[in-house]
Amino acid sequence: MDPAVLVSQVYKRYGNLEALYGIDFSIAKGSFFGLLGPNGAGKSTLINIMAGLVHATSGNIKVVGYDVRKQWRKSRQILGVVPQELAYDPFFSTREMLRLQSGYFGLGKDNYVWVDELLERLGLGDKADENLGNLSGGMKRRVLIAQALVHKPEVLVLDEPTAGVDVELRRVLWEFVRELHKNGHTILLTTHYIEEAESFCDRIAILDNGRLIAHDTTNALLNRYPYRFLRLSVKNYSTQIPEKLLEKVVLNENNELTFRLHREDDNIGDVLDAVQNAGISFTDLRTDEPGLEEVFLALTVKNHD
């Protein structure tokens, strides 16, 4: 079975700038896939190549087996893209735009029922006949999502869908996207909100400086980070923290000491004994497991060192 997306040896150069360097990975059908990376890592360039908005310098991308350059008509039918920019056509109303977009994909009046359903599902029912230029940023974002879904694509690409949107829209958006995923759609998400990727994505790829630096299941990535955190609420203390303990302290502020402890090499009991032996008394303690953000930072910062 063809994967939903197959990225093979994709390079993209802009003059001397290497925007993408030999990217290889695949996204299985039905996956909720996260593509992460700092600004300028190449995420949008990769998505744009996938969508046919940018031509790769070399390499290719296939969407459900269709080459995006050679079989572009098929691949574009399968792909729905929610672009990062809040683009809209000020000449048309929401419904008009969705019907036009549906027509671009060769769909006729039969698809208007789906257009109306999208308007309702995304809370755009009362804005259907409003000119797009009069809509708020959040509403425009909803229209972009509806436009991407108007031809019922198998693979949905969400490029920073929650950038600058309010809590209510996020809730509506994620509820809808989860349902699409449950119904068998493959979702590719790029986001700066790592916690979103952590809670929704089953696999994650991380790009940095145009290179793929990680690609694994979310759990496997989380397990790559061998540390956890011990946080102690301490009373004012006058003694110096012993050097052996100090090297484990990553944060010391607001009467809270945060230790980064290796899962296998550091024993929490030993650390607590050492704290007490140093004359530091604490009133509360908690441990935190690392999130994807720590993994992301560890990988990308290491890459920049």
Binding site: A51, G52, L53, V54, H55, W72, R73, K74, R76, Q77, L79, V81, P83, E85, L86, A87, Y88, D89, P90, F91, F92, L100, Q101, G103, Y104, F105, G106, Q147
Partner: protein, 248 residues
């Protein structure tokens, strides 16, 4: 392709005052000024009043300028707003895109031309000598300018570039095309220069469609216009295929 064409037509019909009525009123103003000032004093072709000579040129100028404006403003505005992405994401080929945009620009040009023709009948009711040549020059000329509008809007980075192309290329070529005069009254040198202006052939041939007289052979004009259309279309399609400033 048909939907993209319809969308473009729908777009300019939503702002009819700007896209159709204003250019027609401009023709009316030209006619008011020129016909009242010059009609009694100038006779370009024997037995043809200056107003009757002027009207086809003015109609064709409006047709050409408006088909250029249609594509240049629509595509460039879409580029600026970013909404061009919706078309680029869709399974629409470069050729279909070209046909849809050029077709809509041609239709706008022709509608402006019909409006200008109707309004000009307040001054002189022109006979139609050849409906075939009238239509051929209007449609092909309009398509050429629509294609040029497409090329300039794809290449432009700011409105300034569009304005420069319009004011330093389109306007001078259309004003110096024999719309207001016959090139036969020009000195030899300027007559020869005029023959390098493709707008001259469009206007001279179009005028033939009404009056049955022209500065040069209508068949020759039609051949030049068709040749120019093919060249401009190839350039436009090549730019679209290369993805220049659209998919790079």
């Amino acid at each position: 392709m048909y939907i993209l064409f319809s969308k473009e037509v729908w777009r300019f019909l939503k702002v009819t005052i700007q896209t159709i009525i204003t250019p027609v009123v401009t023709v009316l103003l030209y006619l008011l000024v020129f016909s009242s000032v010059l009609s009694e004093h100038v006779e370009v072709y024997k037995g043809v009043s200056y107003t009757a000579f002027l009207i086809p040129g003015l109609i064709m100028m409006s047709v050409l300028q408006n088909s250029f404006a249609n594509n240049s403003s629509s595509i460039f505005q879409s580029k600026l707003n970013g909404n061009i992405v919706f078309m680029l994401l869709a399974p629409i080929s470069d050729f279909e895109m070209y046909i849809a945009y050029t077709g809509a620009a041609t239709l706008r040009g022709v509608l402006v031309g019909i409006g200008a023709w109707v309004i000009s009948s307040l001054f002189v009711v022109l006979p139609v000598h050849s409906f075939f040549y009238l239509t051929a020059f209007a449609v092909i000329g309009s398509a050429i300018l629509g294609s040029l509008g497409m090329i300039s809007s794809i290449c432009a980075d700011k409105w300034d570039h569009i304005a420069a192309f319009q004011n330093f290329v389109i306007m001078p070529l259309s004003f110096l095309s024999g719309a207001f005069y016959s090139i036969n009254i020009l000195p030899d040198f300027w007559q020869k220069v005029s023959l390098f202006n493709p707008f001259f052939y469009m206007i001279d041939g179009f005028r033939y469609g009404f009056l049955g007289v022209s500065d040069i052979s209508v068949i020759y004009s039609l051949s030049v216009v068709i040749f120019f259309f093919v060249v401009v279309s190839i350039i436009c399609l090549w730019i679209l295929k290369s993805g220049y400033k659209l998919r790079d």
